[in-house]
C-alpha cells in the first residue's frame, strides 16, 4: 500500500516537474528565438512616407485606444476592460520619458510585428499585434516616422490593473506559442490586386477580427480569418459576421458595405456602439479605393455557421403570443414612425430592422442596448448630421423592453428568439469609458 502511494506521488511529482520544465522551455524559446527584422526599404521621399504613416495610423485606428476621452492625442491612458482586468493603453507620442521618443524603427517593428516591447517583454495582446504583424516593414517604418512627428506629451503611463495569472508577463510566452506567429501578409497570386489590398487592410491594420471573431477562454481570437462574428468580451456588444455568407454580408452589395464603412450608414444597416467609433475615427478617412477593396475582400469570404445563440428559453406558446402582442403594441407606439410597419426602415437615416443581422441575429444585446440607450452613428463627411435613435430606457420597464425586442427579433422574417427581462436588466447602465 505504502509503496503504491509512494509510486503514485512520484509519478505525480514527475508529471508536474515535466509540465513545468516544458512550459519553461516554451517560454525560453519564445524569448530567445530569432526575430525577423523584415525588409527595410530605403526612403527617398520623406514627405510621402509621413503621409503614408498618417494614413496607416487612421487605418489602424491607433488613436482610439491610445487616447483617453478628451485627452491629448496618442498620449495613452484609455482603460481597456478585459476578462483579466483593466489594461491602460500607453503613451505613443515621441516623449522621451514616457513615450516612444527613444525608440528606433527597429524597436517599433519589434512591437508591431513581434508583439514585444523594446526591452523584449511580451506585450499583452490587447495591443492587436496578432493583426498588425501582417503589416510590411515599409508600412511599419512609415507609421513610426509619422508618430515621431507628433508633439511629445509628458504623460506617465498608468500601470495595468490585472489579476493573476495575467500579472506574470512571461506566461504570455505560452499564449504566444499557441496563438501567435509573426508573419507579414503574403499576397495571394490567384486573386486580384484589389482583393489583396482589401485582405491586407482587413487582416492587418484594420484588425477587424479583434471584434468580429469570437474569442476563447484565454482571449485569443478563434479562427480570426473567418470573421464569423461574436460577442466582444467585456464591452458586451455583438459584432456581427462579416463573411459573404447568408448570415453575414451575403445580402449586402459591395456598395452597401462601402457606404457603411465610409459614412456609418447604409441601406442595410447603421453603425452602433463600438463600430461608430471605428467609422468615426478611422474608416471615414480611408480613400475610396481602399474602402472598396475591403468590401470586395469581405464579400469573398466563405460562409460560416452562425455563432452560438444566447440561451434564452423559448416561452410557452400562450406566453409567447402575449409577449408578441405587447411588443407589437409598443412598436406601434414608439418605433413605427421611423422603422416602418414592416421593419423596412427608411435608409439611410432610419435603418431597416427586417433582415438586420445585428438586430435579429443570435445575440440580442445590440437590440436591447439600442432600445435602452439609443445612439447616434458618427458624424462623417458623407453623413455629417446623423439621425439619432432615442434612448427608451428611462421610459420603459425591463419587461416592456424585453417584449419590444422579442417582437422585433421575431417579425418580418427575423428569427432571433425571445429575450427575458433579466437579460434586459443586465444592460441598463450605460458603461462610462
Amino acid at each position: 500500500m505504502n509503496r503504491t502511494l509512494r509510486l503514485g506521488l512520484g509519478i505525480l511529482l514527475g508529471s508536474v516537474l515535466a509540465v513545468v520544465a516544458l512550459a519553461g522551455g516554451v517560454i525560453a524559446w519564445q524569448s530567445l528565438r530569432s526575430e525577423d527584422p523584415g525588409v527595410v526599404v530605403p526612403v527617398t521621399d520623406h514627405q510621402a512616407q509621413l503621409a503614408k504613416g498618417q494614413y496607416l495610423a487612421r487605418a489602424g485606428n491607433c488613436m482610439a485606444c491610445h487616447t483617453v476621452r478628451g485627452g491629448a492625442a496618442y498620449a495613452g491612458g484609455r482603460a481597456l476592460p478585459t476578462p483579466f482586468g483593466t489594461i491602460y493603453t500607453t503613451n505613443i507620442t515621441p516623449d522621451r520619458a514616457n513615450g516612444i521618443g527613444d525608440w528606433s524603427a527597429d524597436d517599433f517593428w519589434r512591437a508591431l510585428h513581434h508583439g514585444r516591447g523594446r526591452d523584449g517583454r511580451f506585450l499583452f495582446p490587447a495591443f492587436p499585434y496578432t493583426s498588425y504583424t501582417q503589416l510590411s516593414r515599409e508600412d511599419s517604418d512609415a507609421l513610426f516616422a509619422w508618430l515621431r512627428t507628433l508633439p511629445p506629451v509628458n504623460k506617465p503611463n498608468r500601470s495595468h490593473d490585472l489579476r493573476f495569472p495575467t500579472t506574470k508577463r512571461p506566461l504570455l510566452g505560452l499564449w504566444r506559442a499557441f496563438f501567435f506567429t509573426p508573419a507579414v501578409y503574403q499576397p495571394d497570386p490567384a486573386r486580384s490586386a484589389q482583393w489583396n489590398r482589401g485582405a491586407y487592410l482587413v487582416r492587418g491594420a484594420g484588425h477587424c477580427s479583434a471584434c468580429h471573431s469570437a474569442r476563447n477562454v484565454v482571449a485569443a481570437s478563434i479562427a480570426p480569418l473567418d470573421l464569423a462574428g461574436g460577442m466582444i468580451p467585456s464591452l458586451d456588444w455583438y459584432a456581427p459576421p462579416l463573411h459573404g455568407g447568408e448570415h453575414g454580408l451575403g445580402g449586402w452589395s459591395e456598395a452597401d458595405i462601402a457606404a457603411l464603412l465610409r459614412t456609418g450608414v447604409s441601406p442595410r444597416g447603421t453603425s452602433l456602439g463600438p463600430m461608430s467609433e471605428i467609422v468615426g475615427r478611422s474608416l471615414q478617412y480611408l480613400n475610396d479605393e481602399d474602402i472598396n477593396a475591403m468590401a470586395v475582400y469581405l464579400k469573398s469570404l466563405p460562409a460560416q455557421p452562425l455563432p452560438a445563440a444566447s440561451a434564452a428559453a423559448q416561452p410557452e406558446p400562450a406566453e409567447a403570443e402575449r409577449i408578441i402582442k405587447q411588443g407589437k403594441k409598443l412598436y406601434g407606439e414608439l418605433c413605427v414612425d421611423c422603422h416602418g410597419g414592416k421593419g423596412q426602415g427608411s435608409a439611410p437615416d432610419y435603418p431597416p430592422l427586417a433582415g438586420n443581422h445585428a438586430i435579429g441575429g443570435p445575440q440580442p444585446v445590440n437590440a436591447i442596448r439600442a432600445v435602452l440607450n439609443g445612439g447616434f452613428p458618427p458624424s462623417t463627411a458623407g453623413n455629417p448630421y446623423p439621425f439619432g435613435m432615442p434612448p427608451f430606457g428611462p421610459q420603459l420597464s425591463d419587461q416592456e423592453v424585453a417584449a419590444l425586442v422579442s417582437y422585433v427579433r421575431n417579425s418580418w422574417g427575423n428569427q432571433g428568439g425571445f429575450v427575458s427581462a433579466s437579460e434586459v436588466n443586465r444592460y441598463r447602465s450605460v458603461p462610462l469609458d
Partner: protein, 273 residues
C-alpha cells in the same frame, strides 16, 4: 455601474413615466418630412445670401434628427414632468455648445450623454446648440418647494446676495438680475427642476462636472454646504418664469469671477489661454 439619477432609482419599474405629452417621437410621415426638408432647403438657400459667414446656417430636418434628445428633454427641449432632465430650449447657444462639447470630451460626466455624443463633430454640435437655443416653447408653472419658509428665505438671500463674508458672488451677479442668463455662455436659472440643480452643484463639488478653466462654478459649488445648495435650488425651482424670459444680450458689467466658459468677459480673456 453608475447610479441612475435619484428619481429613477426610487421609481417602480413597470410604471410608465408621467410624460406630459404622448411619447410619439418623430412624427415622421416620410413624404411630409421630405417636403418640409425641401422647403427648408429652398428657404435656406434664399436666406444664405444674408447669413453672416461666422453664423452657421441651420440644416433641414433638425427636429427629426434630434429624436434622441427629446426622449428625455421633452418636445422642443421644453423638459418633461419627470422632475430631473433639464429644459434645454432657449438656453444661450454658447452655453449649449459648451455643454455638448464637455459631455463629448469628458469634462462633464453623465454616461448617457457621454455615450450619445461620443462621435459627433463640432459642426454638428454647433447645429444642435443653435437648434435648441432657437426653441421657445412655454414654461410650465413652477413646482412649489416642500421646504420651510426659513429655508426658502435663505435660498433667496444666497441667490440675490451670495455669501459676501466668504467672497462668494450672488447668482444674480453673473446669471443676470432676472436670472435669465446672458449670451452667449451663461444659462438662465429659472424653470429648472430642483433635483437637477442639486445634482449639478453636487457634481461640481465632487469633480463629475467641470467646465473650461477657470471653472468658476466649481469654485462656487465647493464653497457651498449641501444645506445652502438645497436652499438655493428650492427657491430657484419654485419661482414662476416671466413670459418674456430670455437671456440678456450682453453682460451689464464685468463678471465678479473669472469664468472660462464665458468668452469676452474681461475676467476670462487672459485666463482662458
Amino acid at each position: 455601474m453608475y447610479p441612475l439619477r435619484p428619481a429613477l432609482q426610487s421609481r417602480k419599474r413597470g410604471a410608465r413615466m408621467d410624460y406630459n405629452r404622448p411619447m410619439r417621437l418623430p412624427t415622421t410621415n416620410m413624404k411630409k418630412l421630405a417636403a418640409a426638408a425641401l422647403g427648408t432647403l429652398i428657404a435656406g438657400g434664399a436666406a444664405m445670401a444674408q447669413t453672416p459667414a461666422d453664423k452657421p446656417r441651420a440644416i433641414p430636418g433638425m427636429a427629426e434628427r434630434m429624436a434622441a434628445c427629446i426622449a428625455c428633454h421633452g418636445k422642443e427641449g421644453r423638459a418633461t414632468a419627470d422632475g430631473y432632465y433639464p429644459r434645454i430650449a432657449g438656453k444661450p447657444e454658447g452655453y449649449l455648445l459648451n455643454q455638448l462639447q464637455s459631455f463629448r470630451d469628458g469634462r462633464r460626466r453623465y454616461p448617457m450623454m457621454n455615450y450619445l455624443l461620443g462621435h459627433l463633430s463640432d459642426d454638428y454640435l454647433q447645429q444642435i446648440a443653435l437648434f435648441f437655443a432657437d426653441q421657445h416653447p412655454p414654461y410650465p408653472p413652477p413646482v412649489p418647494a416642500d421646504v420651510s419658509a426659513t429655508v426658502l428665505e435663505r435660498g433667496r438671500l444666497l441667490v440675490s446676495q451670495g455669501k459676501p463674508a466668504q467672497g462668494i458672488a450672488a447668482c444674480a451677479s453673473c446669471h443676470g438680475a432676472g436670472l435669465t442668463g446672458v449670451q452667449p455662455g451663461i444659462p438662465g436659472l429659472l424653470g429648472l427642476p430642483r433635483d437637477y440643480i442639486n445634482a449639478q452643484l453636487g457634481a461640481w463639488r465632487n469633480g463629475e462636472r467641470t467646465a473650461k478653466a477657470p471653472d468658476c462654478m466649481g469654485e462656487i459649488a465647493r464653497a457651498l454646504s449641501p444645506e445652502e445648495i438645497n436652499a438655493a435650488s428650492s427657491w430657484l425651482s419654485s419661482q414662476p418664469v416671466p413670459a418674456d424670459y430670455a437671456p440678456e444680450r450682453v453682460l451689464p458689467k464685468p463678471l465678479p469671477v473669472a469664468c472660462g466658459s464665458m468668452p469676452g468677459s474681461s475676467a476670462s480673456a487672459g485666463a482662458a489661454r
